[in-house]
Amino acid sequence: MSIDIATARKVAKLARISVPEADLPALASKLTGILGFMEQLNEVDVTGIEPMTSVTPMRLKRRADVVTDGNIQAQILKNAPDAREGFFAVPKVVE
């Protein structure tokens, strides 16, 4: 599978990483190399094999559906690049 420049641009967009147009050919070539390495997986007969979902077969624990914390607004906002009036602040989303 060869990744063309349009696909590289699309993947960068999906990943929300800005990649300058000039860097797209190099990115496409690196991605092609990595995905080429993965092509080996097509040699394996996986008929009837279920995808592995957990390392050790164990049932996930359940816990009571109750509030266990709260009233920590200041802590939650402490590391925000921009927090105002008790909220995370971001550029305008809706005109």
Binding site: A15, K30, G33, I34, Q40, M52, K61, Q75, N79
Partner: protein, 492 residues
């Protein structure tokens, strides 16, 4: 010998006997750390926290209530969230981030009285095998045999260099594809990745959640046993942590492996493997046989597919985990131009914040999870993963107790030497270790000898799930037989 060179076991015994105080022990490490800046291992030093913790440890030791790790000075990999102390995962995108909470692993260590000397360098988000992707710059291996600066391995390169260079008595590491075992082998120390679920992942910055496990990096197998006992245990805050009792791993070190079956997998004899690695492996086999183990040739037929499966699954999980770094809640946010909206904020923040290797892996993960490719790549890789795990299950069902393999395909290489290589060339460093993460098994790297250049080489033992005690005991036998005592000559 200065106390910073001691093992954890020796320091514990000296502290309990009153031969040294935790404060003096900590001071000797802080002095070594300040003299060790040339290694670039410690990236956030916390001497005030360390001395406070050491003073508290001394009181506790005096009162007779001293767990094994009480007063032991440690380095903590930057991937662990530590309250009020920078925790950046060696990434620009977490610049300035100081967690408001403490990871379960560091909480457990501090509850046991351990002392934190500071945070340790690593590959960015633990993605790398040479510690060259860090936003803090390269870590330098304390081992030097010519004019070159060598890599300490990665991603736990700062942990490995700090332990090998005697800046601390032990360090935490994390291992997603070999990130504890490969740097341990490159620096002549011991590193164990426990069974997936043995150690809580809560508060450890996530890379690939189904593969990540934390573990200790130490100067001896006994130290690994003591340290791992303190880190392990069920945590309600990590739903994948196992609700199993934690045995005293040190008590498992009987030194007796008579009658144990050690498997030698033929698929690990790779084409083009250096003769020195081949010889090291044969020597290790002879050591285990001489100790009374039965050596059994085994086959793990899907081994060669482990790396490609890993490099689908790990980036897929990473692309999802790293979606949280968006410049909104913590860390770096790009300076925006007039008229930029929220999408530009995400895209610019992530382009500035993530280094090239992390960006590449996020994009590979995005691609293999995208519509139309999910089955062809991601689900196929997970099916192959099931087969890799089944290979091990069958070997253990046949009565194999542990598996002996090389830890790495070479000794430490020069920093910058892989700069122009294909990313896949760097991935080959993980060829012997990555199977263990895919199968969720415990694996340990033990230093066994030096190559012709005078650089350390390690062997890996792989154990049955949840049998870290038996695994550590086998490693203890290997360690004693190998008698590896070489230390790097101090140049820094």
């Amino acid at each position: 010998m200065s106390a910073n060179t001691w093992t954890i076991a020796a320091a514990r015994d000296a502290l309990r006997k009153g031969d040294i105080s935790a404060v003096d022990l900590t001071m000797s490490c802080l002095t070594a750390i300040d003299a060790g800046d040339g290694l670039n291992a410690f990236v956030h030093k916390t001497p005030d926290i360390a001395l406070d913790q050491a003073r508290a440890a001394d009181l506790r030791i005096k009162s007779g209530d001293a767990p094994a790790m009480c007063g032991i000075p440690l380095g903590i990999k930057d991937l662990f969230c530590t309250k009020g102390v920078p925790s950046q995962a060696a990434s620009r995108i977490l610049t300035g981030f100081k967690p408001e909470y403490e990871s379960t692993v560091t909480s457990k260590l501090f509850d046991a009285g351990a002392v934190m000397l500071g945070k340790l360098n690593m590959d960015e988000f633990a993605m790398g095998s040479s510690n060259e992707t860090s936003c803090y710059g390269n870590v330098i291996n304390p081992w030097k045999v010519d004019g070159r600066d060598l890599t300490p391995g990665g991603s736990s390169g700062g942990s490995a260099a700090a332990v090998a260079g005697d800046l601390c008595l032990g360090a935490t590491g994390t291992d997603t594809g070999g990130s504890i075992r490969q740097p341990a082998a490159f620096t002549g120390i011991t590193g164990i990745k426990p069974t997936y679920g043995r150690v809580s992942r809560w508060g450890v910055v996530a890379f690939a959640s189904s593969l990540d496990q934390a573990g200790p990096m130490t100067k001896s197998v006994r130290d690994a046993a003591i340290f791992l006992t303190a880190m392990s245990g069920h945590d309600p805050k990590d739903s994948t942590s196992a609700d199993l009792a934690v045995p005293d791993f040190e008590a498992a070190l009987s030194g007796d492996i008579r009658g144990k079956k050690i498997g030698i997998p033929k698929e690990y004899r790779m084409d083009g493997m250096p003769a020195e690695i081949e010889t090291l492996w044969s020597d290790g086999i002879a050591m285990m046989r001489d100790a009374g183990a039965e050596i059994v040739d085994i086959s793990l037929p899907h081994t060669k597919y482990a790396l490609p499966a890993y490099y689908v699954i790990a980036p897929a999980e990473a692309s999802s985990n790293l979606a949280r770094y968006d410049g909104v809640r913590f860390g770096h946010r790009a300076t925006l131009d007039a008229g930029d909206g929220i999408t530009e904020m995400y895209e610019k923040t992530r382009a500035e914040g993530f280094g090239p290797e992390v960006q590449r892996r996020i994009m590979v993960g995005t691609y293999v999870l995208s519509a139309g490719f999910y089955d062809a790549y991601y689900n196929r890789a997970r099916r192959v993963r099931a087969l890799i795990k089944r290979d091990f299950d069958l070997a253990f069902a046949d009565g194999i107790d542990a598996i002996l393999t090389p830890a790495t395909p070479s000794s430490a290489f020069g920093l910058g030497e892989m700069a122009n290589a294909d990313p896949v060339q760097m991935y080959l460093n993980d060829v012997f270790t990555v199977t263990v993460n895919l199968a969720g098994l415990p694996g340990i790297s033990v230093p066994v000898g030096l190559d012709s250049k005078g650089l350390p080489l390690g062997l890996q033992l792989i154990g049955r799930p949840w049998e870290e005690g038996d695994l550590l005991n086998a490693a203890y036998v290997l360690e004693r037989a190998a008698g590896f005592v070489a230390k790097p000559v101090k140049w820094w």
